[in-house]
Amino acid sequence: MAEPSTQLASELPSRYLPAVPYSDLPEPRRLRNYLGASVILTATALGSGELVLWPYISTQVGLGLVWLAVLGITMQYFLNMEIERYTLITGETAVTGFSRLWLPWGGIMVLGAILPNVWPGWASSAATEFTFIFDLDDSNVPLITTIFLLAIGLAVTVSPVIYQTLEKVQGVMVVLILVFVVAAIVVATKGSAWASTVTSIPQGVGGLPTSIGVVGAAALFGAIVFAGAGGGNNLVQSNYLRDKGMGMGIRIPNIVSPITGEEVAAPSLGYMTPSTPENERRWRRWWAIANQEQLITFWFIGALLLVALQVLVVSMLGVNTSLGTGLGFIHAEGRELARIVAPWFGIAFYVAGFLILLSTNIGVVDWVSRLTADSLKVTFLRDSGFWSESKIYITVVWLLIIAGSGIIWTGIKPVALLVISATGGGFVMAIYSVLLILLNRKALPDFARLKGWRLPIMVLIALFYVAFSVFLIYEMITAGPASLA
């Protein structure tokens, strides 16, 4: 493996961030070594669009819109690949690339990560599922949401310090949690018959949507954004590639993160692949491997779950607008499963939903904090001795926890919170889909540039997000934010 040369690359814009040296692209290993690079992205994707928003839409309008969900995740596949293209060739995150085009883009991406994700849609959905498990009143949701967020904040902050211990006692933790779940079910559900609660399905919420137009433009856009990962989440794929040592990412020095105790790629600038026949050959192999990995781990699994969960909810409940605009459909789905399969199966369905939302929310808190820490550490806080990466990370974690815990007491409902997060994420995608086209057209060596049939596809995708964003902003200005609910 050749050492990086001392000559500085002219391809990458260096007006706002320092130029980088040339370095040959490493030789890729086999696909199986990299399978799983997208698994975190996929795991974080499941809890919002797949589990909540799309099944919700299906209960309102049927399965007629499934193709839109598949279109949504397909668009994300192409976006992810452009994010990967930049990172494979340079070893830099796409956000660092945006900062090279114009320094404030990094800050805008940070705001675009934080602002949509302070809305506790996942936490309140999980809290609502918790009330289903134990047949608690809906009024408990704010308190449980707060506890839920607090638990995530504490776990993310404290677990690194006791990481080694946690690893040793993980078996014990599983047992303790199981004991809690079993004991709580026995205690809390005493005397309440699950099947009989079917009659309590909220009835007669008048004037509910039965068509796309009535589901609401924001909800539909949000659902398309959250079909897959969505928002700034896709950008963190750059960090996962670097951690995994894919492409030029392997040349990024790993540090033992003080946050996690794990080896991760340090926030740093990258390299530029010089145009040589050998690099071009390696690039072709990297590109093929990265595409296959994304197709299998992200697109296929994501699309399968999107479709399956919608089919499940419709075959259980049919198109049923009397379920309300909230998570009533999940409640009804669990009761249907309990009736058809066995009472424990309904509870297991809620528990699974709760766990998926918990892992999604941890993933969200993690990626937002990591993107922020990484981006600020290579730009505005590069030379700050006080603001280390871990300090920024922890600060953002608690900002999300505290803001989310405050917002939930205002009484905004889970689905509305998710729609807010998703539309905010959609605005961010509108911005970075354009930036990706500019960056990958401008800053890369000719053989790796965005061109050919992917270019018109990326332009159409960017147009889609931009048009939807402009439309929603226009609606908000002319008819007020409430018009989107």
Binding site: I40, A151, I152, A155, V156
Partner: protein, 32 residues
């Protein structure tokens, strides 16, 4: 698979903290 293992452990730990805090809230009669 460092990140996956880390998130898994964090998930378990968060579950544990959530269980303890919810039990306390329940014991205090805050959950109805």
């Amino acid at each position: 698979m460092g990140t996956v293992r880390r998130l898994w452990l964090t998930l378990l730990f968060a579950m544990l903290i959530f269980s303890v805090l919810t039990s306390v809230a329940w014991a205090l009669g805050l959950l109805t």
